[in-house]
């Protein structure tokens, strides 16, 4: 069933593709987060802009990735930009909505107290609102990262130079469904997604001890 000889001969390639996979996904989420963060702050500051921003992110999410690759190749060629644009775009809808929801979730009395104590607007945002939004922001990052790790595989359709572990899946498929190679792509990809998920849960616990205190209190 499994072609062990093939596997043994391609260990280097698997390791390389795994790293490429991580790199492509991480870059997509990082850029996506940076853009979403700015958009969310703008939306939270100027409420009227929230609906259009959120709607735009939603529409981008509906564009089929294959169509997007085809369109982008004519502009940005077979570059990493072509691979990253769709990955970044698909993170926006999750991240913008979660960051805004996190900021909206800060209790009104906490904001009033912050104003009454003499926080400037900027201090209030960075020292009170954003720290309190962290649980929802991290939840958004978790979801965005897991879905991006899955999406990286389809960048293999641009060229052999991309795709991370998706390269093996596509290549195995083209070789009239060479299962060993497809597993070599799919299984590590799934493990990466699970690992990222666990990592974010850990990070979340580490950076929000107060939320753990609240959870403990609620359950007792």
């Amino acid at each position: 069933m499994i072609d062990w000889v093939w596997l043994a001969g391609h260990l280097d390639a698997i390791v390389y593709r795994t790293w490429q996979h991580v790199y492509l996904a991480a870059l997509g989420v990082a850029i996506g987060f940076a853009i979403s963060f700015v958009l969310a702050l703008v939306a939270a500051r100027y409420r009227l802009l929230y609906s259009p921003i959120s709607a735009l992110a939603g529409i981008l999410y509906t564009i089929p990735s294959l169509a997007l690759f085809a369109a982008l190749i004519s502009i940005t060629g077979f570059s990493v930009v072509t691979a990253e644009v769709p990955l970044v775009m698909y993170t926006l809808v999750i991240l913008v909505r979660n960051i805004v929801a996190g900021l909206d979730g800060v209790p009104a009395e906490v904001l009033e107290a912050a104003d009454g104590m003499g926080y400037t607007r900027r201090q209030r945002l960075w020292r009170v609102e954003l720290p309190l939004a962290v649980p929802l922001i991290v939840a958004g990052l978790r979801l965005a990262t897991v879905s991006t790790i899955g999406l990286v595989t389809i960048t293999a359709t641009i060229s052999d130079a991309f795709g991370g572990l998706g390269y093996f899946i596509l290549d195995g498929y083209h070789r009239l469904t060479f299962l060993t190679e497809m597993y070599a792509g799919a299984l590590p990809s799934i493990l990466l997604a699970l690992g990222a998920d666990l990592l974010f849960v850990r990070v979340q616990r580490r950076v929000t001890p107060w939320a753990q205190a609240r959870a403990l209190e609620a359950s007792s």
Binding site: P107, G116, L132
Partner: protein
Amino acid sequence: MPEQAAHRAAIVEYQHVSKSYATAKLPRSAPGAVNDLSLTVPAGKICVLVGPSGCGKTTSLKMVNRLIEPTSGRILIDGADVAGRDATELRREIGYVIQQVGLFPHQTVGANVAVVPRLLGWPAARQRERAEELLALVGLDPALYRDRFPAQLSGGERQRVGVARALAADPPLMLMDEPFGAVDPIVRERLQNEFLRLQAELAKTILFVTHDIDEAIKMGDLVAVMQAGGHLEQFAPPAEILAAPASEFVADFVGADRGLKRLSLTRVGEMALQPVVTARAGDPAGEARARTFADPFPYLLLLDPSDRPLGWVNQRHIPGTGTLARSLATPMSPLLDRRTTLKDALSMMLDADVQTGIVVDRAGRLRGVLTVEAIAAALRPSADPEVIAAGTSGAGS
């Protein structure tokens, strides 16, 4: 104590302050509006703004630290118009306590208390020191509470932390918006008493908002009663509000039992006590009998050798000869001390079904007696205003 603290207390002056929320759609007054408010809060006093919801009391409070800007008029702190101050700087100099407390859930209790010192850029060690000092001041053991998160506190503990946080930078003025409104009545009572004890030492100027007239009377050196539409109906010491309501609205608002409420403003120690015929157990009976018959009050109060009351002896039961035995003394009137409020004193007398309460000092020695008639006399609107005025200073202790 007020002398040395005086420089740490501010004078707040409202000068024809109005806030209008009128719009084209709602040209009439909207809830929270304030109409031509003028009043002066003297340094080191608690001024309570009280009234039904929508009367503009919270708006009035928030205009002081510029969370709300007045439509017209000026608010002066120590003579300086707040409108001329940088809003954030101004707020850091004013303590602020709100009903829902608004502690920062992501910060420890210690960090919450040190919020304003941190904003003011105090060195970290001094922030920590100050936080511990304040936690101790509000009755929370710093070692136990400093590192907890707000979610791990009870409602009453949160309110205390809220007060500690407001006091952190030693502000000359505190704004308190229903600060004890979110806790149950027993905890509220305790927090009120603790706060009054604290204020007796700190002597801050305090603006205090409540919808509860009983709380207003208890906490206020001065009470401002406001009516819907933001009209100031009366601004006076609590005793005067109760004794002479300025309008029908105030009379209604303080309630039909305002006479009884006045009883809680005065303490036994502020009343003129009446003397009574006394004798010590073991004294010659004949002489005591003669003195008791010479007095219009038909009872003798028997004392032990240290002047502590043993009980009453009816004049008819006093033997003509021999000495006074302890066994002659019959059921006692309730023992009152100087700090008992007239309300509690009257209640104790009614419970014991007697007309007279015996007032003793801390050692239990007789100071005099207080009768139901004397309490009733103090209640009459025509009662000597001196006695009533004396009651206000006691209300804050």
